[in-house]
């Protein structure tokens, strides 16, 4: 693990960052958001509310049209400083021609890590997502849920400080999604990660996050910032607990009022 530049600074600090695409669409109105280390932050909102744009700004995949983003207390716009990010896309986005272990090894290969040295990291990542037995398979030979796990293994293989996930389980059935949600929480706890998770599922947000940033559409903006630090384990019993249901209600109201406000503008 590399040393963060400043241990007190938040993982990501977004100051007035906004995004207007070349077509003139305002994808994201100015956003101020500081995400602390170790937080599990969910960006929740309907389609077209700029969730993915905000995530991609944090990933450095999209440049802001204005405002600044600071990572790990570094200079604005500098993603360096030893910060490692893992990104999980909406679809597994695996290389179809490479076996599962070669897909997981990709970030190490691109960073020039020698094969022998990276082997343990690849094995660990695969074991953590339960794919150790499937290392020599091709992506096509796996189910959708297993492909997603391979994608997560790839994102964590180089021991990232932050995991960015863009509706990773949206295409999966409810049962697989719940299982992967639980596995993700275990991973988050085990690795001390900072997670930014995009979803449009209220229950998924309430189950996973320590904090939920509710977003509204046209233009994309932050409408509410809900703290959801609760004690106790997040297991199946948690899904029926009052804390969980309260949170769902609150999120649902926030999204509803944002939608109504947009209609009246």
């Amino acid at each position: 693990m590399t040393q963060p530049l400043s241990s007190a600074a938040p993982a990501v600090e977004i100051c007035g960052a906004r995004k207007t695409y070349a077509t003139g669409t305002e994808a994201l109105a100015p956003v101020d958001l500081a995400i602390g280390r170790g937080e599990f932050v969910t960006l929740l909102g309907p389609s077209g509310c700029g969730k993915t744009t905000l995530l991609n700004l944090v990933a450095g995949l999209v440049q802001p049209s204005g405002g600044t983003i600071r990572w790990w207390g570094g200079a604005p716009g500098e993603t360096g400083g030893g910060l490692r990010m893992g990104y999980v896309f909406q679809s597994p986005t695996l290389m179809p021609w490479a076996r599962v272990d070669a897909n997981v090894r990709l970030p190490l290969d691109l960073a020039g890590v020698p094969r022998a040295q990276g082997a343990t990291q690849v094995d660990d990542a695969l074991r953590l997502v339960g794919l150790a037995k499937f290392a020599r398979r091709f992506p096509r030979e796996l189910s959708g849920g297993m492909q997603m796990r391979a994608s997560i293994a790839r994102a964590i293989v180089n021991g990232p400080d932050m995991l960015l996930m863009d509706e990773p389980f949206g295409a999966l059935d409810e049962f697989t999604r719940q299982r992967l949600d639980a596995e993700l929480l275990a991973l988050w706890g085990a690795r001390g990660l900072t997670v930014i998770f995009v979803t449009h599922s209220i229950t998924e947000a309430a189950f996973l996050s320590t904090r939920i940033v509710v977003m509204g559409a046209s233009p994309g903006r932050v409408v509410d910032d809900v703290r959801h630090d609760i004690c106790g384990p997040r297991d199946d019993a948690f899904r029926t607990s009052p804390a969980f249901l309260d949170c769902c209600r609150r999120l649902s109201r926030a999204i509803q009022s944002a939608g109504e406000a947009a209609l009246h503008e």
């Binding site: 990933a59 990104y87 986005t93 290389m95």
Partner: protein, 270 residues
């Protein structure tokens, strides 16, 4: 239900048996028509005569087949090397592609018979000239398919490579080339047939004789001499060579893509 699909084993056997049966019937009909109507051999030889010619003149015919196949395969190899190189240049920038692609099209639409005489005059060595002509014909599908393939990269994977600060070389070697492989192999399948056609047509134009004579020259000469059995035998060999080339490229695609690409995995993996 008479329309029901037959079981798998029968379906597979049928796939081989049905075209074979059509072939046997056609050849049998041809043999019968020639014999029954007493057609002279200098007009249409019977299949039996063609077969006998293939056996009797095998030394001469196989030599010629070797020459033609040699030209076609050398041209194909040249087209692959040059075509992939051009495609790699094209994907470096849209400006380069836009400036040069019309000329690739121009090369493609100009009939070979129109340029072959020029090439044969300009290039002293006839064999080299024939290879060049055939390569020009085979080039286009390689260039256009490979260019398309090099551009058909999963945008998510490209983002991932960018986020990992991959070098241009890493993107090319680890992402673009593997993505392009199925497209390239599709182009190769078309180009292999074109290379053979190019080799035959160019030789027709050149009319090379002597020791290095290919199948086209045998056809040309046999036509003048009204040696129909040899003409037909040469035609049969060209057809067989074309089928063999096609089958080889199909086998190559299958071997390369069997485990991961949709075009080959449909009945193999699941």
């Amino acid at each position: 239900m008479n329309d029901a699909e037959p079981p798998d084993g029968i379906a597979r056997g049928f796939r081989v048996a049905a075209p074979a049966l059509v072939g046997v019937i056609a050849v049998g009909l041809w043999q019968w028509l020639v014999v029954a109507n007493d057609v002279p051999v200098w007009l249409v030889p019977s299949p039996a005569v063609v077969l006998r010619t293939l056996v009797d003149e095998r030394a001469l015919l196989l030599d010629s087949l070797g020459v033609t196949l040699g030209i076609a395969l050398t041209a194909l190899a040249l087209a692959v090397v040059v075509g992939v190189a051009i495609a790699l240049v094209f994907v470096q920038s849209r400006v380069i592609e836009m400036s040069l692609f019309p000329y690739a099209v121009l090369l493609q639409v100009t009939p070979l018979v129109a340029i072959a005489p020029l090439v044969i005059i300009w290039v002293g060595d006839t064999r080299v000239a024939l290879v060049l002509c055939a390569a020009v014909v085979a080039l286009f599908p390689i260039v256009s398919n490979t260019t398309l393939g090099l551009r058909s990269v999963d945008p998510g994977l490209l983002d991932l490579f960018r986020m990992s600060r991959a070098s241009r070389w890493q993107v090319l070697w680890r992402l673009r080339l593997p993505s392009a492989l199925p497209y390239f192999l599709g182009g190769l399948r078309i180009a292999s047939g074109l290379a053979l056609i190019g080799a035959v047509v160019a030789e027709f134009v050149a009319g090379t004789g002597g020791a290095g004579a290919g199948l086209a020259y045998q056809i040309l000469l046999a036509g003048i001499q009204l040696n129909m059995p040899r003409l037909f035998a040469s035609l049969v060999l060209i057809a067989l060579a074309g089928i063999a080339l096609f089958a080889a490229t199909v086998a190559l695609s299958r071997a390369a893509l069997r485990r991961w690409h949709e075009s080959e995995t449909s009945d193999a993996v699941r």
